[in-house]
Amino acid sequence: MTMQRSFLAFALAIGLAAPALAADEHAPLPTKQKWSFSGPFGKYDRAQLQRGFKVYREVCQSCHSLSLVAFRTLADPGGPGFTIAQATAVAAEYKVPGGPNDAGEMFERPAGPADRFPKPFANDNAARAANGGALPPDLSVMAKARTYERGGLWFLLDIVTQYQEQGPDYITALLQGYEDAPKGFELPSGTNYNKYFPGHAIGMPAPLSDGQVTYDDGAPQTVAQYSKDVSAFLMWTAEPHMEARKRLGFQVMIFLLVFAVMLYFTKKKVWASAHA
């Protein structure tokens, strides 16, 4: 069995050497936040999703689309917990293209619950033109489209801890990561320095400031709180059925484990005769 041991040593050696090899590539690692939706029984915090939605509407929305999200889903179970009337009212504040009417003309109509969030710009080029050449990405699945690397063998531990909130952790960090460029760092014109952004030069100027969005539920009106709330909201837009998934997952696991135990004892009984 010496080989198995040397195999283990080999694997460990690779694992320990890797962070050293990859170290300089990394910006500081985002802080791991405490999320209500992490872990096997995680659920979204309705109040947090509603606050995050408010931040999105008052800040992000002027540049970033949310084009995969339908207004009706704001009232879906496992979401921000709006009523259907509230979701319909939110939708009615937006205009979407309609038509053609009987005269063959296109027109604008108020959005209904079945519509998706309209894009803030007519097309990508218009979005670029209005944002100094940078295209503000759609945010619908952003919380799953961003991650960060810790190097080494941490990724193996994530299987057990079920850590999969790299996306919201990164977004939270990014929104608070603006600072003056260090001496000697050449910041291309029209970009801003963000210590968490890969390459550090980000097109988006610092979007949040303390007190910018008014919360009605007494939550602190700080950049830190805004960042967390909007990240949680984006996790929901990226994974709207997460609560149903984890709930069903628990039922499936219980069933399979009970079934497996029963099969194990059946197998033992069946094979007992073969050994006699």
């Binding site: 694997a11 050497a17 991650t147 399979l256 197998k267 069946v270």
Partner: protein
């Protein structure tokens, strides 16, 4: 399937049927009366698991296709439509995406089991080669399927892999244009990949039938690698193998469910939630984990054509295993040296997998080169030498003797 069926139809209808289409007899002799060596351990249960995974992938896939749109402008959003609007669409998609990984986990265990116990040796060479063909088809199917969500990694993965063919001298570029259906990966590529992704699983199913057929002609190998000598050495498939396979299959399903329900994106790439964009290349283009060892071999070699040849050779060499390892003793239990080299080989494969996920630079490349050389040396140098010079341990006289000596229930 070999020999005459011992099936005795009971009802008048089954008697009538058996004289016309003896399908019940076929099932009976293949899955009920079929004799299996009594000393099979749990590593032998992965064939059944693989059959289950193929079925699960086909079922979830067929339903996904009802909601998916194979068009470059719509594919990404149609996948999100499945995730958001289709009833249990998120479940279907996560089962299908993670199912591919589970399929590969099971096939790798199945293959390493075959390698450890010498299951490819005479008279199971054709059985083994059919398995290698299934594995190749699985790799093709997995690659084609990963393209379909049309995210960044789908697009760039497809670009990198199809570009392999441009390494062919003279006609390379033409071949690649032909594969793409254009001058870059685009909508025609997506549509043909979709078509082939739907086709290949049924081809796999066909080869699986041949694989099982071949298996039932030669019989299963077993942990001590000597053939059963009569009824004392075997047990009937049902109930013995069915209940044992069933138990492990349910355990495997729990493992699968853990990934699909709790960490469904763990085995994927965040970049694939960014819609495909031909204008922006991801920082690191990384294939799915199950290709990583081969990706490391490809990148270890500085010359593109030689790299591609090494990549394909590293898989094709498996087909020659029955002749590269000509030792008469099958099981590693009686081959002390082979057993050591087997574990080194496993470590090398895992090491190559790790390196395949890393950027191709500096020490990573050197490590990949060393491991690539070792990978080929294992097959082309070590195995032929071992089969000639290794001093093997004495084999037991029969399976039942070895079972009794080992203190019966331990290994079952």
């Amino acid at each position: 399937m070999s020999g005459h069926s011992t099936y005795q139809p009971q009802s008048a209808f089954m008697k009538w049927m058996e004289r016309r289409l003896p399908i019940a007899g076929l099932v009976h002799s293949s899955f009920i009366a079929y004799p299996v060596p009594r000393n099979l351990n749990y590593w032998w249960t992965f064939g059944g698991i693989l059959a289950f995974m193929l079925g699960a992938q086909i079922v979830t896939g067929v339903v996904l296709v009802m909601h998916y749109t194979p068009h470059a402008d719509m594919a990404f959003n149609s996948v999100e439509h499945i995730m958001r609007d289709v009833n249990y669409g998120w479940l279907l998609r996560y089962l299908h995406a993670n199912g591919a990984s589970m399929f590969f986990i099971a096939v790798y265990i199945h293959m390493f089991r075959g390698i450890y116990y010498g299951s490819y040796k005479e008279p199971r060479e054709v059985l083994w080669i059919l398995g290698v063909i299934i594995y190749l088809l699985m790799m093709a199917t997995g690659f084609l399927g990963y393209t379909l969500p049309w995210g960044q990694m789908s697009f760039w993965g497809a670009t990198v892999i199809t570009n392999f063919f441009s390494a062919i001298p003279l006609v390379g570029e033409t071949v690649v244009t032909w594969l793409w259906g254009g001058f870059s990966v685009g909508n025609p590529t997506l549509q043909r990949f979709f078509s082939l992704h739907y086709l290949l699983p049924f081809v796999i199913a066909g080869v699986v039938v041949l694989h099982v057929w071949a298996l039932h002609v030669v019989g299963q190998n077993n942990p001590i690698g000597i053939e059963p000598k009569g009824d004392k050495d075997t047990v009937p498939f049902t109930p013995y193998a069915t209940v044992k396979d069933g138990f492990v299959m349910v355990c495997f399903m729990a493992f699968f469910a853990y990934f699909a329900f709790y960490i469904p994106n763990y085995l994927g790439h965040a970049d694939n939630y960014i819609p495909a964009n031909p204008g922006v290349t991801p920082t690191h283009i990384v294939p799915e984990w199950y290709y990583l060892p081969f990706y490391a071999i490809l990148r270890a070699i500085p010359n593109k054509l030689l790299g591609v040849i090494a990549l394909f050779a590293s898989i094709l060499v498996l087909a020659f295993l029955p002749w590269l390892d000509s030792s008469k003793v099958r099981s590693a239990r009686f081959r002390p040296l082979y057993r050591q080299f087997f574990w080194i080989f496993v470590a090398v494969c895992i090491g190559l997998g790790y390196l395949g996920a890393k950027p191709a630079e500096g020490a990573y490349v050197i490590a990949s080169q060393i491991l690539t050389v070792y990978y080929f040396a294992h097959f082309l140098i070590i195995l032929p030498l071992l089969s000639r010079y290794e001093k093997t341990k004495p084999l037991p006289n029969s399976i039942s003797e070895s079972v009794l000596k080992a203190g019966a229930p331990a290994k079952a």
